[in-house]
Subunit: 354 residues, 2 copies
Amino acid sequence: MNRPELSLALVGFGHVARRFVRLLDEVADRLEFTWRVVAISTRHHGSVIDVDGIEVNRAVATVEARQSLDRLDRVPRERSGIDVIRQVADALADEAAEGRLVCIETTVLDIDRGEPAVSHVRAALEGQAHVVTANKGPAAFAYHELEALAESVDRIFFFEGAVMDGVPVFNLVRDTMPAVSVEGFRGVINSTCNFILSELERGKEFEPALAEMQARGIAEANPSLDIDGWDAAAKTAALVNVLMGSAITPHHVRRTGISEVTGIDVREAISRGRRIRLVASASRQGGKVKAQVEPEMVDRHDPLYGLEDLENALYLNTDLLGQVGIVQRSGGLTQTAYALLSDLASISARLREI
Amino acid sequence: MNRPELSLALVGFGHVARRFVRLLDEVADRLEFTWRVVAISTRHHGSVIDVDGIEVNRAVATVEARQSLDRLDRVPRERSGIDVIRQVADALADEAAEGRLVCIETTVLDIDRGEPAVSHVRAALEGQAHVVTANKGPAAFAYHELEALAESVDRIFFFEGAVMDGVPVFNLVRDTMPAVSVEGFRGVINSTCNFILSELERGKEFEPALAEMQARGIAEANPSLDIDGWDAAAKTAALVNVLMGSAITPHHVRRTGISEVTGIDVREAISRGRRIRLVASASRQGGKVKAQVEPEMVDRHDPLYGLEDLENALYLNTDLLGQVGIVQRSGGLTQTAYALLSDLASISARLREI
């Protein structure tokens, strides 16, 4: 198979998914696969299934005009995300069996149980579809179950976008560090909190800084997810589950957010040559993994010291390579959309090997 | 083929190659291949070929006792590295044809023409062997010729160890950033110079700092390669050739070393909140790539500001991901040996796919 055609079922069609389909078009000539979108499922704007291929621009325009996708469907009906996944997997059973059906999951993070994302991933794998998600929930709440299911049906379950957008973290370890054991990590992985702390350092106020992040689509709709450390805790749980082999959820991560941090605190830190940063970390202690998210006072010798505004960084402690860092200096929608694209390219590469 | 056996021809058997064979033993149970060493070629300690497998511990002991490997050979004779490669490729033609013969090239960098490393790589690929090298020469002087040759015989030519030891740079871009275009880079990629500058900042002298790096086996035997910027220029050329698609040699890199930098300079910089770092960089200007290595004054907002002692970092400017950094915080023989191991694992992964 030289340039496989992939059939994409988009579950979730918010900013990230819409940027993703545009990005695919923009870089089509660099990709070693072709694609068509066969389903789009949304929470508030209906759904559409067309195994012959949906006219994506029209779907984007429909949703951006706040209209329902149902009008694009030949047989419109009310369906949940799971309904859409099952219906597509049935209708495209041959393509699913050949490994050419991919579910692109981009629903919103639910911090209680990671649902409905976990169920979406499960249903897709059960239908022999590969799954790519930018949602932190599945890897944070159910990584081992879902990965075992993926292996049992010989499908890929990837989620590079869950941490640091498209900057490789999971793919970095899996693809470029064979035989290396990750013993722990430490990083700044929530952009909203880092931006707020940077603004406080510049003498700005907390609330307007948060509002700016919401306006730019970087903060979660529910601000508690960011400022109370939940987003970082979900990422931490995903990292622990995937890179360190442990099985935890975000609720096992000791967590302190930045809501108590004041401008006085951060400027007092600066006057002593330090900065306050929200640090996520994990390490093995005895047989267990200890994970936490909390504001830390870092000095200029700390590799996290220099991270401004939206910059993220993750330092992995490894046995064979010592400490290795990966740094994201630019964030935004394109970077998150790219995460989905890079995972899709991995699926296509595997297909071309067959 | 489930767990392929690879036959290794070691061309160069210095500290790195000897650490590499020990490392293979140490992590054998994590590897998805087995191996035997079928040839060892050295510049000053003879050579040995045994297609049934050389007793590696004995070879290590022989070289470390400054004796000749010829005594381990059933039919000892004087052979160059190229002679050894050709003889092994002939004797193991079947394994070479199956893609199970690998040349591990670890000779010393020659900054004039990259020889004999370039010829070693060429001879190995002509003999249908894969090539893994920690030498910067081949990618810095002849990347496009050698890569074209490798593709024409369907073999791998990898050199992760050429820049930042085993911390992924080339593999990072190739394996985890599909469809991304690298537009430029900027980094600190010579440990010896960074250590000397750090020592000068602490009030130490230049010469003892250099001597310490030589004693620890980190500086090149010829100190000019480090302090005159040649090592960084060779790495820069390799990065430009491989990541940016241009075709240059180290002699095309504008180059200023650190030999003129004094303790007064670095402490004067510190008094103004800055540091002097030897920075390697490249960017596209018009249709051409401009590459240079030179001491730069960096301030605390610069991501290279915090790099102490042996720390390296490389920041890539990309089109889809913006600026992405990879940071090496620990260096040493194990990290360089690991580079060879990670490339070997990539070869084994490709064999298992067949």
